[in-house]
Amino acid sequence: MTSFPLLVAQAESAEFWQTFLQYALIGLTNGALFALIALGYTMVYGIIELINFAHGEVFMLGAFLALTLVLHVMKLDEATPVGLWVGIGLLLLIVPLFCAVINVSIDWLVYKPLRQAPKLAPLVSAIGVSFVLMNVGLLWGGAADVHFPDFVSRHNLLGEDAALSFTYKDLMVVLITVPIMIALTLFVQTTRMGKAMRATAQDPVAAQLMGIHVDRVIGVTFALGGALAGAAAVIYSLYINTVSYQMGFTNGLYAFTAAVLGGIGNIPGAVLGGLVIGLARSFGSGYVGERWTSALVFVILIAILVFRPSGLLGARTREKV
C-alpha cells in the first residue's frame, strides 16, 4: 500500500516537471523581452529620477515603423530568404535608431526645461507625451490590431515531437536580447561614457564637478533606452506578430513593473525583474489561468514592495534631513 502513492507521485512528477520546464522556458523568453524595455525605464530613472511614461509608446512607434518598413518600403516576403534576413538585420538597425532619436527629442523638448521643477511636473509631462505618441500611433496604424508578417518559423528546434518546445522564434529572442544585454553591460561598465552615466546617476553634482557634461550624458541615456525599446519592438513584432497602438501601454506597464520589481534605477535589477515578470506570467497562465495573469503579476509586485519597499535589488535610501 505504501508504494502506491509514491508511484503516482513519480508518474505525476515526470509530467509535472516537463510542463514546468516548458513554462519556465516561455517565461524566460518573454521575460527577456520585458527586460529589454524595462532597461529603458530603469536607466532614465537612474539618472534623472523620472518615470518616463512615454517609453512604452516609443516602443510602440518602433513596432509601427518596423511594420511600415516591412510592408511598404522593403516589401519583404518569405520567398527570398536572403533578402528577408538582410531586411530583418536592417530593421534591427533602423528601428532602434529611430526610437533613439524620438526618445532624445522628447528629452530635449519636454523634460529638459523641467529639470529644476518639482518632481511631479516631468512625470505629468511624460504622461502627456505618452498620450501624444499614442495618438500618433493611432493615426499611423489605426485603431484595430494589425498583423505583422510571420517570418520566423515556429519549427521546434528540439524535434517536432519532443516534449519540450523551443522554436526558432524563441531562439531569435535569445540570440538578439542576450548579446544586447551583454553589450549594454560592457558599455556601462567599461567605457568612458558608461562610467560617466553611472557617475551621474550616483551623484549629478559631483559628476558636474568632474567636468562631465551632464545634459549630454542624459541625452545618451535616453538614446540608449530608446534604442533598446526599438530593438525590443522589432523582436516583439517578429515574435508576437500583432501590432497595435495600445501595445505600448500594456507592455510598457509590464516592463515598468519589472523595473520597479528589480529596484528602479538598477540595471541588473531591471533584467531580473523582467525575468521574474515573464516567469510569473507564464506560470500564472499555466497554473492559475490565463485570465488572472495580469492580476497575479501586480499582486506579486505589491507583495514584494510591502516587504522590500525599494524592490529586489534596490538600495535603501536614507532620508537627508
Binding site: 505629468v124 502627456g128 493615426l139 495580469s294
Partner: protein, 371 residues
C-alpha cells in the same frame, strides 16, 4: 494682499445658471439643429465626473499621492450599484442603499489599496495604483457570472422619488419619468455635487485637511509634528476613493447600465488626473474648472466637431485623419505638456496660494540649501 475677501462671491451666479438652465427650453432646441447631443444630458455627466475628480483631488491634490487608478474605484462604485439594483439579481435594494454601499465599498477598497503603499516612495505609489486599476478592470471582466463580463450590468433602475419631491417637479414642468426626462438625473447629480463640494470645503479647513496638505508638503516634518502619516494617507485614500465610488453609483444610475469594464480603464484615470492638474492641484474650484473644460471638450465639443465634419461631407471616405475624435488624445497630451511647462500651478490654484501671490508667478521651490 488683494482685497479678495471683500469681493462678492461669484459661485451663486454659476450655480443659479446651472439650476435654471434645464428649465429653459430654448438652448437645447437651438443646439438641436447643430448636433444630436443634449448639453443638459452631458452636463449631468460632467457633474458626475466632477465628483470623481474631486475625489482624486483629495488623494493627488491635497495629499500628494500620485494615484493613477481612480477609474477603478469609479468602476467599483458603478458595479456595486449594478449588483445591488439590477433586476437580474435578487437584491434590488433601491437607489439610496446602493449609493451608500457604493461609497463605503469603494472606500474600503481604497483603504485596501492604500495600506501596502503607505511606506512607498512617490513613484512606487504611482505604479501600484496603476497596477491596481488594471487588476480591477481585468477582475471585473473575468468575474463574468457576477459582472456580466464585457457587457456590463443593465438595466440599472432609476431612483424612486418620494411624493413630496414629485409634486414641485411636476409644477416646474419636469416629468417624473426618469427615462424620458434627463432633468431628474441632472438635478440629482447637481445636488450631490454641491453637497460634496460643501463637505470637502469643510474638511479642507479642518484638522484632517491640514494634515493632508502637511503630508504633501513635507511628510517627514509632518510626522515629526505628531501626525500619523499612515492614518492620514489612509483617510485620503478612503475619502477619495469613496467619492469615486459615489460618482460611479450616479454614473451607473444615469446611464442605466454599469457600462463594460473598459469604461474604467487607464485613460479614464488619466483624463481625471489631467482635469485636476489643469485646474490646479489641491484646489476645488480649479478641479471643477478642469472637469468642465476637459470633459466638456471630450463629451460635447469633440462630438459636435465630428458631427460638423460629417455634415459638411469633408470626410466621406472615412479617412481616420479627418475624424476629430482621433486627435483627442493628442490634444489632451499637448494640453498637459504645455500646462506643466508654462503654468505648473494650474488654471485656478488653491485660493490660499492665489491670495498670497496675487498674480505673481509661482516660483519653484528652492533647492535644498547646503549647510
Amino acid at each position: 494682499m488683494t482685497p479678495t475677501a471683500k469681493r462678492m462671491p461669484v459661485w451663486p451666479l454659476y450655480l443659479g445658471v446651472l439650476v435654471v438652465y434645464p428649465l429653459l427650453v430654448y438652448p437645447e432646441r437651438a443646439l438641436a439643429g447643430l448636433t444630436e447631443i443634449s448639453v443638459g444630458r452631458q452636463l449631468t455627466y460632467i457633474f458626475i465626473y466632477a465628483i470623481l475628480a474631486l475625489g482624486l483631488n483629495v488623494v493627488v491634490g491635497y495629499t500628494g499621492l500620485l494615484h493613477l487608478g481612480i477609474a477603478a474605484f469609479f468602476g467599483i462604485g458603478a458595479y456595486i450599484t449594478g449588483i445591488l439594483t439590477v433586476s437580474a439579481y435578487p437584491f434590488q435594494t433601491g437607489f439610496l442603499v446602493a449609493l451608500v454601499a457604493s461609497t463605503i465599498g469603494a472606500a474600503v477598497f481604497g483603504m485596501l489599496l492604500g495600506a501596502p503603499t503607505l511606506r512607498l516612495r512617490g513613484d512606487y505609489v504611482a505604479i501600484v495604483t496603476l497596477g491596481f486599476g488594471e487588476v480591477t478592470r481585468f477582475t471585473l471582466r473575468n468575474l463574468e457570472e457576477i459582472t456580466a463580463g464585457t457587457r456590463g450590468l443593465n438595466p440599472v433602475p432609476p431612483p424612486q422619488l418620494p411624493g413630496f419631491v414629485e409634486t414641485p417637479l411636476s409644477w416646474l414642468g419636469i416629468g417624473a419619468d426618469w427615462s424620458l426626462d434627463y432633468r431628474l438625473f441632472y438635478y440629482l447629480a447637481l445636488g450631490v455635487l454641491v453637497a460634496v463640494i460643501w463637505l470637502l470645503a469643510n474638511v479642507e479647513r479642518s484638522r484632517l485637511g491640514r494634515a493632508w496638505v502637511a503630508i504633501r508638503e513635507d511628510e517627514l516634518a509632518a510626522t515629526c509634528m505628531g501626525i500619523n502619516a499612515a492614518r492620514v494617507k489612509l483617510s485620503a485614500f478612503a475619502i477619495g476613493c469613496g467619492l469615486a465610488g459615489l460618482a460611479g453609483c450616479l454614473y451607473a444610475t444615469t446611464l442605466t447600465s454599469t457600462a463594460g469594464p473598459d469604461a474604467f480603464d487607464f485613460n479614464r484615470s488619466m483624463i481625471m488626473l489631467c482635469c485636476v492638474i489643469l485646474g490646479g492641484l489641491g484646489s476645488i474650484r480649479g478641479t471643477l474648472l478642469g472637469v468642465f473644460l476637459l470633459v466638456g471638450f471630450d463629451n460635447v465639443v469633440a462630438p459636435v466637431l465630428d458631427g460638423l465634419i460629417q455634415a459638411a461631407q469633408i470626410n466621406t471616405s472615412g479617412n481616420r485623419f479627418l475624424t476629430f475624435s482621433n486627435w483627442k488624445l493628442m490634444i489632451f497630451g499637448l494640453a498637459l505638456v504645455l500646462m506643466v511647462r508654462f503654468r505648473p500651478e494650474g488654471l485656478l490654484p488653491s485660493a490660499q496660494i492665489e491670495a498670497e501671490l496675487g498674480h505673481e508667478r509661482k516660483s519653484h521651490r528652492p533647492a535644498e540649501a547646503p549647510a
